[in-house]
């Protein structure tokens, strides 16, 4: 079973790379968001530094969601989803593996690039590290939560917008504690660890629970 899951993981990575990489696209989207924000906000570096972590979180959230609607759709179109559903490996683990692979190709590059982009938003060093750390914990959770939406809209040709609407309410707690942890590192009223621990808890919960919901959705809808 482990071998099958590893094979699936590398298959996902290979596909993502061959298509030209949703990961690279997500990164460019992230860069564009960071570029247009200063024009929207105006030339105020202090303000930019204050809202910078929040901007980066929103950018990461949108970049993650944008690529997710194809998570199961391509498999459904070429029939491999049916194979995945009926094969001996539990569908929950298949979903989790696909999410991990997707995160490695889209979320992880965002996390790695975030300190560089943060510099452009005038965020100072400590806060940058904190933002990167919160994104490292938060983006996998966003991918996993998004997988539920991707599974629910798998049969829809244009499910992207609907998926975002379905998923965003569930991303709200992650966003709240991700940004408040980043703000706490910048010198707030609570120690960094408090909101960060909540973020970790939320992420863990999403990682454990979402594959079940997404797998149930795939089984129910593809049936």
């Amino acid at each position: 079973m482990r071998g099958a899951l590893a094979a699936l993981f590398w298959r996902e990575i290979a596909i993502a790379r061959r298509i030209g990489g949703a990961g690279a696209l997500g990164l460019v989207f992230f860069l564009i968001l960071v570029t247009i924000a200063p024009f929207a906000v105006g030339p105020d570096l202090a303000l930019l530094a204050r809202i910078g972590p929040a901007l980066m979180w929103i950018g990461a959230l949108l970049a993650t969601l944008l690529g997710l609607d194809r998570l199961f759709q391509a498999d459904q179109e070429d029939g491999s989803l049916d194979v995945l559903i009926t094969c001996d490996v539990p569908l929950e683990l298949v979903v989790a593996t696909k999410c991990l692979a997707h995160w490695a190709m889209t979320g992880l590059p965002l996390v790695i690039a975030s300190p560089l982009l943060g510099l452009m938003l005038a965020i100072d060093g400590v806060t940058l590290a904190a933002v990167a750390l919160t994104l490292l914990v938060g983006t996998p959770a966003l991918t996993f939560i998004g997988a539920i939406g991707a599974a629910l809209t798998v049969s829809l040709r244009r499910g992207g917008l609907l998926m975002a609407i379905l998923v965003l309410p569930f991303a709200v707690p992650i966003l709240i504690f991700g940004t408040s942890a980043a703000a706490a590192a910048a010198g707030g009223s609570v120690p960094f660890a408090t909101p960060f621990l909540v973020l970790c808890g939320l992420a863990l919960f999403a990682l454990a629970a979402s594959p079940f919901a997404a797998a149930a959705a795939l089984r129910e809808i593809d049936a």
Partner: protein, 240 residues
């Protein structure tokens, strides 16, 4: 009881019940509004504006109760594959959204004169807004997936995932929120003076009856709509 789980029997029952339910709802609303707006004394601190609570609080309860009812129907869809559960789920979503909307608007109207702001990102307000968005998402899902059975199963899963929000709404006022804490269902009894509490309870029953009446009407319409759909599919088949 089980007999009425059959859609046709449900329609018969609905036809018998609806006039009575409608009359009872109207009567209780008239009584409750009269009590709330003319009999209950003004609040010592807030004055007359507190009367908004006779709309706001029952609407909030029904917004949550509607979601719980929808989650119950979702179980009916997934576990027992019952067609009536599908219909109940679909009918409850717009109703829940409407009650949540009433709750948000009345709360906002109350918040301006009392707190001094129309809106604030306090845990209670935010979690209820999230509930509203979830209702809208469910409605969108129902409208986008064409096959009713598939739509019902998708909506059921999303509904069950969303149930985590209900305890969050309930306990959000314990986290130093601007919204006041629980006044009615609390240890040591209600903190609302009895002459002000009674109208609220009457209004709560009136709102519940309204919800049930609208739900049954909406379910009836949905059953009929499905029959029309089936018949037109059949007719199209025959015409070929």
């Amino acid at each position: 009881m089980l007999k009425y789980a059959n859609p046709t029997n449900f329609l018969t029952l609905a036809a018998k019940l609806l006039p009575w339910l409608g009359a009872a709802t109207a009567a209780l609303f008239a009584f409750g509004l009269y009590l709330g707006f003319f009999v209950a004394p003004a609040d010592a601190v807030q004055g007359e504006i507190f009367r908004i609570m006779y709309i706001h609080v029952p609407a909030a309860w029904l917004a949550m109760l509607g979601y719980v009812a929808m989650a119950g129907s979702a179980l009916g869809t997934l576990v027992w594959r019952h067609p009536l559960a599908d219909v109940a789920q679909k009918a409850a979503a717009p109703l829940g959204a409407a009650f949540t909307f009433v709750c948000l608007v009345t709360g906002s109207l109350w918040g301006k004169p009392t707190w001094g702001t129309w809106w604030v990102w306090d845990p209670r307000l935010t979690s209820v807004l999230v509930l509203f968005i979830m209702y809208l998402g469910l409605i969108a899902l129902w409208q986008t997936i064409e096959d009713p059975g598939r739509a019902a199963r998708a909506a059921a899963i999303l509904t069950l995932v969303g149930i985590v929000n209900i305890p969050i709404i309930k306990f959000s006022v314990d986290w130093n929120s601007l919204h006041q804490g629980e006044s009615v269902f609390r240890a040591g009894g209600s903190t609302i003076y009895p002459t002000m509490l009674w109208p609220l309870l009457v209004m709560a029953v009136a709102f519940t009856l309204l919800f049930v009446t609208l739900l049954i009407m909406s379910m009836r319409n949905e059953i009929l709509r499905r029959r029309v759909r089936r018949l037109s599919l059949l007719a199209a088949d025959l015409a070929r």
